[in-house]
Structures are given as C-alpha cells and as structure tokens.
C-alpha cells in the first residue's frame, strides 16, 4: 500500500549542510504524542512562522487520533502527505539539497529518518512590506500599487490583474549563495512559442553566487551587456507588468526585488508610460512623440551648441551671435570644456539629489541649481547660454519614463559633445551614425532592438509612435510573431 523506496535525507545531514548556524531550529517531533519515532522538525528562525508551524503542523502531527502509536513511519509519512496534517501543499523530498532549498524559502521540514525522506510545509513568516505606491513610476490616473520584496505577494498582484488560467508561473532558482527564487511569468498562447523556454534557459545559466540586484538578472540574461541602452524593461508597477504580459512578453519576478523584468524590450517600449493608457489617445500619442523628440534634444543639444559655437557660427543669426559673444566675453574656459564641465556638474547634482535623504536632497538640488548656477554665471565661470543649453538638455532627459534610458542618454551626450568639440557637425554626424549602427545591431532576447523602426520592413511604426484608440488597439504586439526565432 505504501511505497518502500528510501531516500537520502537525514537529520544529521541536514544539520551538517547548514553548519552550526544558530537560526536553524530542530526538535524531535512526538508523532502522535509518542517519542522515539525518529521524526524531527526543522525550520529556520525568521523565515518560517513558528505560530503557523505550531498550529498547522505540530498540533495535528502530535494528535494520537491521527497518528496512532502503532502506525509505521512510512504510513505516517503518507498520511501526512495526503492531507492529514492541516498545512496545505506539503512536498515530499528525498534529497537533502531539496530540503535545504525549501527551508530557505520559509518552509518547515519534518524528517522521517527511517524513510530517509522529509515533508516540507510552506509556513513563511509574515514580515513583509505592505503593498505601497510605486516610488519611481508615478501616475495620476491609474493603480497605485507597486511590487514588494515578497515573491508570493507579487505573483498574487499579477494574478489579481490577470484572472486567466493561461497565466503561467515557472519557479526557478538563481545564485549559488543567495538561492534567489524566481518566477518566470507568461501567458500561454500570447507569448511567442519558445520564448519562455529561451528565457528559462538563460535564467538557468546564470552563473553567479548572488542574485540580489536588478542588474544581476538583467545583465546576465542578455548575450552582450556592453551596450548602455537598456534591453530589459524593469518596472515596479504590476499593471504595467500585466499589460506587457498580455502584449506577448515574458516576465520575471525575483524574491527580494520589488520589481518585475520584461522581455523582449525594444527601444520603443522605453518611450511608453503606464499613464498613456489612462489619458485620451490623442494626448497620449502627442506625449509619446514628445518623448522621442526629448530623447533627440537631450542627446544633441549640448553637442550642437559646441559645434555651432566653435565651427559653424554662420548658422546663427547675427543678433543671437552677438549675444553669445557678449555672454562669453570674460569666461576663461574654452567652449567645449565649459559644456563638458557643466554636464558633469549637472550629473553630480542629479546623483547628489538621489543619494541624499529626501529633505536634504531637495534642498541640495535647489541650492545647486539656483544659487551655485547663478553664482557661476555672475563670476564668469560659465556663460549663461551654456547653463540654458545644459538645463534644457537635462530637463528633456528627465521626460524619459525609464531611468536606465536616461542613464544611456547621459553617456551618449558626452560622446556627442566630445565629437562636436573635435570635428563640429561632421563629428556629431559621425558619432550619431555609430550609435545608430550600434542600436541597430542590438537585440533583446533575439528580437531586434530597433523594432518596429527597423528589422521588419517598417510595419507597425505608427503603433510605436502613437497610442491607438482602445477600440482599435490590438493587445498583442504583432512584431513579436507567433514563434520565437533566433
């Protein structure tokens, strides 16, 4: 009636696997209230909830009515596995490694020495952050919930938004030491065939000890992470995550990270915000186009100023030119150095504003922007035109919905400014060409990064630039195709 196959789990092996760690708790379980049955309870203090262990596991297992004295350990194991114990979803483990993984995930383990097997019951501790407003991706009209560090909470948030049985969660683990739990999320029939398998393969091949940061996932699943441009869409919004799953993307949730990762993520995805679906389609389309324009302006404005001021003065009307000459009359630094210096100062202020506590950060931004900038102009350290150009470029960059894209712009700006300082507009054209070649050569999990602008014959370009009316908006991204192709 009961299986007699014997596994390799033992209390001593489990204790040895964890070393002499103080948070590993173990005690002999009195099965049915009787000692000497060779049943031991293990759990990790802090990860498992002792209250839940006591109520749902220990209490029924020590009940003599459920587990009479004469019951053999094998039979007791089977009874516990089949629901005699209150704890739901017990897992039978026959390898010590599997038991350690479950303990690290917040389960408790009941070791049956005689059988060399263990039953693990998920009883995670309830200490988790409450679902809160997303910090970075704010919207005016739209849901106000954001991902938290607990994987089960995040998966529940997605389930609440996509009430379809086609929604799949595949559990994975990454990081030799961190053992971070991951969920690969996709909608069966929406994601291209084979894409989920490919992403799963890449996640399985993550060769690192620690997967505790966003970059540990986003950089490791890309083939060549050298590009500054983001190719994995990272979001802290469950609604955005769900919408992208419906569009056919594959998502990744990681335990300990309050964000979701979405693939494939072409360039056009980083120009969209969750707010786009909240407003009127005309205005949303206008804002999307504005973001593309802002991307170009933010990248090019400082470089164009340097090029025109140093090489192509004839492009500027005489009145403006004379104003620029007057403004720079007593500034001792060359134009290129002035602009690069201001770009660096702007980035320093930006970083200082982020790192400092919020009240101080805001004050530093105001002081840096207004007082120091004004003082620098009055002291003739920089010319006011440069301040205007850099501020304009910076503000345009802040319209980027994705911070990773803004970071890429900061790098592109410096390269273009350097090229402009060396060769004027010709240098800008050269470096822009190189960046375009670079972007066109990128891919996100095999999908062209510049899709739909390149790589598919120019179809669906309007879909990237505009937000179609809801009646005409097809949910699935047509350029993802039906099947994943390498």
């Amino acid at each position: 009636m009961f299986k007699t196959h014997r596994g390799s789990v033992s209390a001593s092996e489990l204790t040895e696997a964890f070393g002499k760690t103080a948070d590993l708790k173990s005690e002999e379980l009195l099965l049915g209230g009787f000692a000497g049955k060779g049943v031991t309870l293990f759990y990790l203090d802090g990860l498992a909830d002792p209250q839940a262990i006591a109520e749902t596991v220990v209490k029924p297992m020590t009940d003599p009515a459920r587990f009479p004295k004469e019951l053999a350990p094998a039979a007791a194991l089977e009874l516990a596995l089949r629901g005699t114990v209150y704890g739901i979803a017990p897992e039978k483990r026959e390898k010590t490694r599997d038991v350690t993984e479950d303990l690290l995930s917040g389960s408790c383990a009941i070791i049956f020495e005689a059988e060399g097997a263990a039953l693990t019951f998920p009883v995670p501790a309830q200490e988790k952050r409450a679902v809160d407003l997303p910090k970075e991706e704010k919207v005016i009209k739209g849901p106000k919930d954001g991902f938290v560090e607990t994987l089960s909470v995040n998966s529940a948030l997605i389930r609440k938004k996509l009430k379809t049985p086609a929604l799949r969660f595949t559990k994975l683990r990454a990081g030799g030491i961190s053992g971070t739990e991951l969920y690969l999320v996709y909608i069966e029939g929406r994601a291209p065939k084979g894409l989920a398998d490919e992403v799963q393969r890449r996640l399985s091949e993550i060769d690192g000890d620690c997967v505790l940061s966003a970059a540990a996932i986003s950089e490791n699943i890309l083939e060549s992470p050298a590009s500054p441009f983001p190719r994995v869409l990272v979001t802290e919004r469950p609604d955005k995550f769900a919408l992208n799953l419906v569009e056919g993307r594959v998502g990744i949730l990681a335990d300990g990270l309050p964000m979701g990762f979405l693939l494939p993520a072409p360039f056009s995805q980083f120009m969209k915000t969750p707010e786009d679906d909240s407003g009127h389609w005309l205005f949303s389309s206008f804002l999307t186009l504005l973001r593309y324009f802002a991307f170009v302006i933010s990248s090019l404005a400082p470089a164009l100023y340097v090029a025109v001021a140093m090489y192509h003065r004839e492009m500027i009307p005489v009145q403006l030119m004379q104003s620029m000459v007057d403004a720079k009359a007593f500034v001792p630094f060359p134009t290129a150095l002035e602009v690069i210096g201001m770009l660096a100062a702007f980035d320093l202020l930006h970083e200082a504003g982020i790192r400092l506590p919020t009240p101080i950060g805001q004050t530093v931004s105001i002081i840096g922007g207004l007082i120091v900038g004004q003082s620098a102009v009055e002291a003739k350290v920089v010319s006011p035109v440069v301040v205007v150009v850099i501020a304009f470029s910076g503000i345009a960059g802040y319209t980027m919905p994705d911070q990773d894209m803004y970071s890429a712009i900061r790098i592109v700006r410096f390269t273009l400014t350097a090229a402009a300082a060396l060769m004027g507009v010709y240098g800008i054209a050269l470096v822009v060409s190189l960046w375009i070649v670079h972007l066109a050569s990128l891919d996100s999990v095999g999908f062209p990064y510049m899709s739909p602008f390149a790589g598919n014959g120019g179809r669906h370009i309007l879909r990237a630039l505009l937000r179609y009316p809801m009646r005409k908006k097809r949910e699935r991204e047509p350029e993802l195709g039906e099947a994943y192709k390498r």
Binding site: M310, R313, E314, M324, V325, D326, K328, M423, V437
Partner: protein
Amino acid sequence: MKRLFLLLPAIFLLVSCGNGAFFPPSREIEDMSLVRVLGIDLEDGNIKITGLTAGGASSESAAFSGSGATLSEAVGLLSRLPAGKNAVFSHVESVLIGEKAAGRVIPETLDFISRSNELRLGTRLFIVRGDTAAGLIEDSGGELGDLLSLLGENSPYLGVFAFTAGECSAALKRSGACLIECVKYDENVAPCGFAAIRDGKLALFLEERASEGAAIIMNRLQGGEVSLSGRTLMINGAETRFIPVEGPGGEPGAKLEVSLTARLAGTDGRTNAGNAEDELTLYVGENIRLALEAALKLGADIYDIRGSLMEARPFSAGAFSGFSMPSAEIDWSVSAKITGSFDLREGAESVAG
C-alpha cells in the same frame, strides 16, 4: 562593427585632408569679431577693404581696413582687430562699393563673394554715391548695419530694395547687366536710386522716378506715399502682368498691364478722388517710361522682362528666346484705383514727385 572602428582613422583624416591638421580648426566665440558691413574702395590703384564690426555689450563697433592689389590680398592683409580678435565674415549683411571703385571691382567682388566660404550669396550690394565706402562707414557710425537693413522705411521715394550678390551674378550671366541699389550719406544713410552695371562696369544711374518705374516693372513695388498736385496718395501695392505680343517684324514683344490701388489722404477718399486716379496713372506711366528708356539706353534686359514673359507663358518659353531690349516692342497700360482714404500723419512731408 570592427571594420567600422578600423575605418575611423581614415574618416578622421578625411575631415581636414590637405591642410596638415588632424582635426579641423576651431575658434572660440570670444575671439571673434563679427563683421556686419564690408566696404570696397580704390586707393592708389589698390583695392581697400573696410570692415565694420558689430557692437555689443562687451565691445564697441569698430572699423578696420586692409589694402591689396586684389580683393583676396586685401582681405588677407586686414589689420588685426583690437584685443587680438579675429574678423569673422560669415555675418556680413551688406557690401558697400565706392562710386569710383564701382567701375572696376564689381565682377571681382561678385566672384570673391561666390567663392568665399564665409560670405553669402544673400549679401546685399550697395554703391555709395558721392563718397567712398570707407567714408560712409566712418560717417554713419556703428549703427550702419541696422540702417542699411531699414533702408526701405522712411524712404523719400518708392521702390527701394536691394539686390543681393546672387541676384546680381545671375542677372549678369543672363543679360550682361544688373542693377545695384545706391546709397548716400546726408545726415543719415538714404537710398538714391539704382546703378546699372553693364559688362562689369558702371554704365548709368537710375534716378528716383526711374527707380520707381523699375520697381513696378519688376513687380517689387511695395507701396508708399506719393504727392501729386498737392494731394497725398498712399499706394498700397502694384501688380504688373506681362502679356507677350508680336512686333511688326515678328520679333517677341511685351505688353505690361499695371494695376495699382491707392488711398487718398483726407476724410472721404472716394468723394474727393477727382482726377487723382488719372494723375496717378500718368505719374506711374511716366515712371515706367523712364525706366524702359534707361534699359534701352543700356541695351540690356535689366528688368528680366524676358523671364517674366516666360513665367506668363511657361509652355511657350522657347518663343521668347529672341527677346532683346533694343528690338523688342514694349507697350504698357496703367490702371489706378482709389479705394479709400487715410489720415495724413501730422508733420509728414509730401513726397517729391
């Protein structure tokens, strides 16, 4: 991608091939002095260049000069500007040519402007009557650039507009002659008609009424006040239609139909129009006659009547290939209409007819 990076050194060298520099030369803004007006004169057989820089908050407008056997040599020998600044010619708006120099330097000037990588074909040309360009620059002070830009306003006569270097070059190539606006200094910079250039030399001057006629023929009359028999009229605009006709010998000719509208100063323009329309018709007709007489004297189609005829009949352009001023029959008719009235400005002087 690797091949692209290998090509980069070649591209860098292409940027400034031939001058030995690795990167193109750059200049800082504060080292530049923008030249707005350039003057060309003849002095002791040499060409003298006078430049007037733009003034601003950090520096005052200044004049500087250089001489040489040719225009290029004169530009190359320009004296250094104060504080070691470099003259930049990319914002030169006007080129003044002294009356004496006009007889010799016009083709060289046009050639220099077209070849220069700083000067533009849109630079306006002026001939200074009764003075040298350097003298006008000196007399008018630092605001000369703005004064030349506003030449059409408060003009003593209608039909004030400047031809650019590009237009003059095209006209010379087309008909061997071109017109250049004239200016003089009389307490202020003022326009004074056109100069006709033929075969690279100054041929004749078109005085004010002939200039008005030229403007009407070229469809560039913008409007202004005219005083006739003690009455002041404000011409709103004029339109000239070109109708091809055939002369007695079969040669192509043209009929000009000019229609213009005007307002009469006073409270009730229509009631008090009287014979103002007839007088205006005669006045404009006489202006056209003077302008055509100048063209006949010159023997060149300086108003590009042939081009206007080809525009009017684009599918028969070949029919006008034989059009030439000496042989062409040109007739004209003028119709003037008083459309309303206006209040004469206080203290305004009547424009001499």
